[in-house]
Each structure stands twice: as structure tokens, then as C-alpha cells.
Symmetry: C2
Subunit: 345 residues, 2 copies
């Protein structure tokens, strides 16, 4: 292991500039007045020696890491590019560092946190990267935390930022019912324990109920928000000769929609003539599907930005919003039966 090659330190600067290290420190941090002539001498020596203060030493002395951490379940999702963009912007605005890590759910020998109070001042925790228990643990240790796309369990007070799932889904399904006269809408249910899918389901049901359409358990596919899984479940559903009739599908998210499209096409079912299909997310591929997918726009970058913002509130001692709900909007394309490209908020 190569250790860092001996770099020049604040002591070198002090010696060369003929001042004390305390003065150099004050000049560096601009937190106390330093006379102009000393300042000049210090600056000159610093330029000459190309001095950059060691972050670790400074962090240790100040007991502040100037770093926040982002924990995600994995990075294999384009979703995270947008999320990161939002977070990174906010972090750099505050002159903080950003540590990112995935959390491989490690069952054996106790989980080793890659991120925590030992290397960050606070953390952004994305849904499904930590168990409720682990979150509670970090919280107990006073580590500033904000949750993304997930709310805290019990009545722990941890700020959370997420998107409006229920209202958007309700609007989407209502659109299917009122504009396209669909009544037998298939629900592709996402992971049981995923909050987004939970609220989407609630919105789905509410739309049905407010139109006096009974919720039919047989019109539910226990797939998941993964393309392949959705494809297979949909196929199994179609191949079951006893399957109930349906005239529309809410796929839960756009990625699942791709699988659903494939299964439908294989069975010669036309979209939207035979069945309307709608998704959620407005992922990059949504407008390019055939037909273009009607879906819900989730402001992912904004979610990242505001999550970081709440964390900085916590770090600065100001009051964060306990829950930040980003509004979503529907984008009407043609998979629902519409002919235009439109947006309803």
C-alpha cells in the first residue's frame, strides 16, 4: 500500500511565511482578521508551495466531516442518474462531499455499514437499502437522516421525501374510466413492501370505488416492477384459459410496461384498441414504445435535490419538513387510447 507521499503541511507554510500555524489557519478559514501583510506573505508561500490543506486533519479537528452519504439498494437503474444529479447539485452548492454506496443486504455476520456516523455528517437513505431496524439504529445514534421514497416506521421523526403516488394513480385510472370507458382494469402489483407500489394500489382502488367499479382480486397480477417478471406473469395470466376479461392495464411502472407490451403483442392483443395500457415514471423509453406510453412524470431529480436540502436543514439546525411530497403529473400519449400528447396536472 502506498501511503500518501509526504505532502506539505500548514507548518511548512507557517515556517516559510514566518508566522504561526494558528495564523495560517485563520487566514485559510477567514474566520478571524489577519493583517494584510501577513495575509500577503501567507498567500504567497501557499501559491509557491501549492498548498492544499488535508481534509482529514481539518475534519478531525473540527469534528465535522463535511460529507454526506447516499445509500441506495443498487445502481442498476437509470432512476439513480437523475436522483444523483439532484443530490450532487445541492451538495456541491453547500461545499460538501458526497459519498455514495450501495447496501448489499448482508445477512451473515452482522451488516457492515459502508456509510454511517463514522464517515458522514448525515445520510440520504433510499427505499429498500436499509431495514427499518437499521434506520432506527442510525437515528438513535443521532445521525442526521433523510429517507427517500420511504417513510420511517413507527413514530420515529425522520424527514422523508417522496412523490405523490396515490393522487396521480387515481387521476390516471380515472382517465381510463371516464375518457376511454374502461371498466375491467388489470393491476400489476409491485413489491408488497414497497411504499410506492402500495400507494399506487391505493390510488387505483380509490379511482375504482369512486366510479362504483368493484375491485376484483382476479384482476390483479402479482408481478413486480421488473420487465422480465412482469412479462412472465402477464404471459401466465393470458395463458390461463379461465382468466377474466379486461380492457386496460395499470402496469405499476414503465419498466414493467415493456414486459406487459411484449406479452400482449405475443398474444395478438392490440394496444390501445383492445386494451389500454398505462405506466408510471415517465422513464426515457416511455415515449418510444409502440404505442407511446401514457404514464406519470416523476420529478426524480427534484426529489434528490430536495432530499439533500432537508438533510442540510438538519445539519444546520434549522427545521426540515418532515414530509416532502413532490407532485407528479400525467402525460397522455397513445397507449391509453388518446391520440394526442398532452399533460394533465
Amino acid at each position: 500500500m502506498t501511503k500518501q507521499t509526504s505532502s506539505i503541511t500548514i507548518r511548512d507554510i507557517a515556517r516559510e511565511a514566518e508566522v504561526s500555524v494558528a495564523t495560517v489557519s485563520r487566514y485559510l478559514n477567514q474566520n478571524a482578521f489577519v493583517s494584510p501583510d501577513l495575509s500577503d506573505r501567507i498567500q504567497e508561500v501557499m501559491d509557491q508551495l501549492d498548498y492544499i490543506p488535508q481534509a482529514t486533519a481539518r475534519q478531525l479537528a473540527m469534528r465535522k466531516k463535511n460529507t454526506i452519504g447516499l445509500l441506495v439498494p443498487n445502481m442498476h437503474n437509470n432512476f439513480f442518474a437523475a436522483l444523483l444529479a439532484g443530490i450532487e447539485g445541492e451538495v456541491s452548492k453547500h461545499n460538501y462531499n458526497l459519498l455514495v454506496a450501495t447496501c448489499r443486504m448482508n445477512q451473515k455476520s452482522g451488516y457492515q455499514f459502508p456509510l454511517g456516523s463514522h464517515n458522514t455528517d448525515g445520510m440520504l437513505v433510499f427505499a429498500d437499502s436499509l431495514s427499518d431496524k437499521q434506520i432506527a439504529q442510525l437515528h438513535e445514534r443521532q445521525l442526521p437522516l433523510v429517507l427517500i421514497h420511504k417513510s420511517p416506521s413507527g413514530n420515529i421523526k425522520i424527514p422523508t421525501v417522496t412523490i405523490e403516488n396515490k393522487a396521480a394513480t387515481k387521476k390516471l385510472i380515472t382517465h381510463l374510466i371516464e375518457e376511454h370507458h374502461r371498466k375491467h382494469i388489470l393491476l400489476v402489483r409491485g413489491s408488497e413492501y414497497q411504499e410506492d407500489s402500495y400507494w399506487r394500489e391505493v390510488g387505483f382502488k380509490e379511482a375504482l370505488f369512486s366510479h362504483n367499479i368493484p375491485f376484483d382480486e382476479n384482476l390483479v397480477i402479482r408481478g413486480s416492477f421488473e420487465r422480465e417478471v412482469a412479462y412472465k406473469s402477464m404471459k401466465a395470466f393470458l395463458e390461463d384459459p379461465t382468466h377474466p376479461k379486461f380492457d386496460a392495464i395499470f402496469t405499476g411502472d414503465d419498466d414493467a410496461a415493456v414486459g406487459i407490451y411484449d406479452a400482449l403483442k405475443e398474444h395478438g392483443i392490440r394496444i390501445p384498441e383492445d386494451v389500454s395500457v398505462v405506466g408510471f415514471d415517465d422513464s426515457q423509453i416511455a415515449p418510444f414504445l409502440t404505442p407511446p406510453l401514457t404514464t406519470v412524470i416523476a420529478p426524480t431529480e427534484e426529489v434528490g435535490r430536495s432530499a439533500a436540502e432537508q438533510l442540510f436543514c438538519l445539519l444546520n439546525g434549522s427545521d426540515p419538513a418532515l414530509v416532502t411530497l413532490h407532485t407528479t403529473e400525467i402525460v397522455l400519449r397513445s397507449s391509453c387510447g388518446c391520440s394526442m400528447n398532452n399533460t394533465i396536472t
Copy 2:
């Protein structure tokens, strides 16, 4: 600013376990034998007090940050999700931390590096995030560096990992010429100073030359690898009544292809009947375009993984590969005129 709430330290553990801090440290790092009874006592106290060593103190004492940095020009590109996934996997395998930052080219008042020898042991630098001069500076200061999708200027020896652009493009264009009998191929030129686009252009020309097709400067569009820009340049080209005839387009990358598709469609030009179109990257949308885009698969995650790998070589004192070139492969879809979905390596 809230400072870290006084956490428990190695001294607390030592006191409670009735050993010296040196012994606790040795037990923690497992780098010296500690007798079983002391070990037990220490472990017990640590569990009880929920002790986690402060990373900064440890880093300062060891003069090693256990952290690498990734610098990218921006995060607004799905490309980075895959890149990050590869990097993160390797980093966590080595039990390192990963700091990510974007480099906003800041002209005024001298650039402030968000990442450098002050907070990392080494850096991964993505193309277009730092100038050659800045890279040289970091390198002079002995900071271990590896470049991604970019080679070092001059004859500085910095490992670089990138993809095979030239050969893949040559193969792609050759396919257009030999299989689809295209002779008038339009080249959408990417940014002048971007290495990827440079080599793609070279490959493009080589394919032409080896088939005795002269390179025609009039069959070049000075667009860029951005959807909107490509769209506008293509449109301008088509609206110029003097534009030369063409029967194929190499769009430079998939994102640009989307813009090209749009412009072509507006002018009633059919793909691939009237013109073949090919891209580069195999982005997520490529298979969903109408018609599906023939393009080149770039192993982005693999690039990230191996870049991190080279950096760890540097950090461990073993010899890194000075240049790692990842092979790319062509995926034939129907935009070129093929009817099947095939791959040639």
C-alpha cells in the same frame, strides 16, 4: 452548524476494558496478536458501547484516506448509472469509500477542485471533466489517476480505459456498404475535442477508403451528440436545396439518432427504405425506436469496473495497464435494413 455529538472513542473502550488504547487499536485492526482474554473483554465493551472508530482519525494517523474519487462532467446522462455501478462494485470490494463530484468548469477565480489529494487517495477522471492542464497538475502532485474515455495529453503516463471506437465504427460502416450497398453515407460529427467521436470518425473514413469510396466533406453534418442539436442540424441540412444525395447516416451516438429520426420523418424520408441509420452506444432506447436502431454495444459498466481496478493497481503498487480497450460489438436491428436482431463481434 451542529457538530458531531460527542461519540465514544477508543479511549472509552480502553478504559472500560482495562487495557491500553494501543491494544484496542491492535484488536480492531487485527494487525498484531492480542491475547484471547483481552480480546474478549474489548469485544464485549465494544458491543456494549456500540463503538465505531472514527474514519477521519484513522485516516489521519495512517495518512491514507481509503477513499477514491470519481469526477464526471455532469450526471445528466444515463451512461453514468452504468459507469457508477461498475465502479461502485469494485470500490466496495476493496472496502474503500467512493466520493463523486461533477466538475463545473469554472473559469473565474481559479478552479476549486472538489476532489483531489486532499480528500482522496486516487481519482477516476471522466472525459471532459478536467482540462489536460488540470490533469497534469494532479499527476505532478503524485495523485494516482486513471482516465476514462480519454487519453492523457503529451506523454504523461496515466492509465486510461476506454472502448474500441474505431474498429466498431469501421465494422458498422462496412456492414452498411457491403450488406446494404450504401455508398453515400452521411456522418454526424460529434464534438471536435471528444476522443470517442474522433475515433469514430477515423473508423468511418477507414471503412470508406477500404471500399474505394471517397470521403465527401459535403456529407458531414457538424452536429453534436445531443438530440436537439442533431435534430436541428439534420433539418437544416435537408432544407438546403443543394444538399447532396445520401442513402445512409452514421449518427455518432444513439441519442443523436433520435433527433435524426425525427428530422427524417418530418421530411417523409423512410428508415431504412430510403436511408439506413446507425448509431453508437446501444442506449436503453435504441431497441424501442421505430425502426429499432442498429448500433454498437458499449460495455459501460465494465469500463467503470476496470477503471477502478486499474486505480487499485496504482494504489497497491502493482503495475496497471496503461491502456485498457474494451471491445465493442455491433447489434444489428432494422434501421440499417436488416430484418433480424443479430450481433457481430
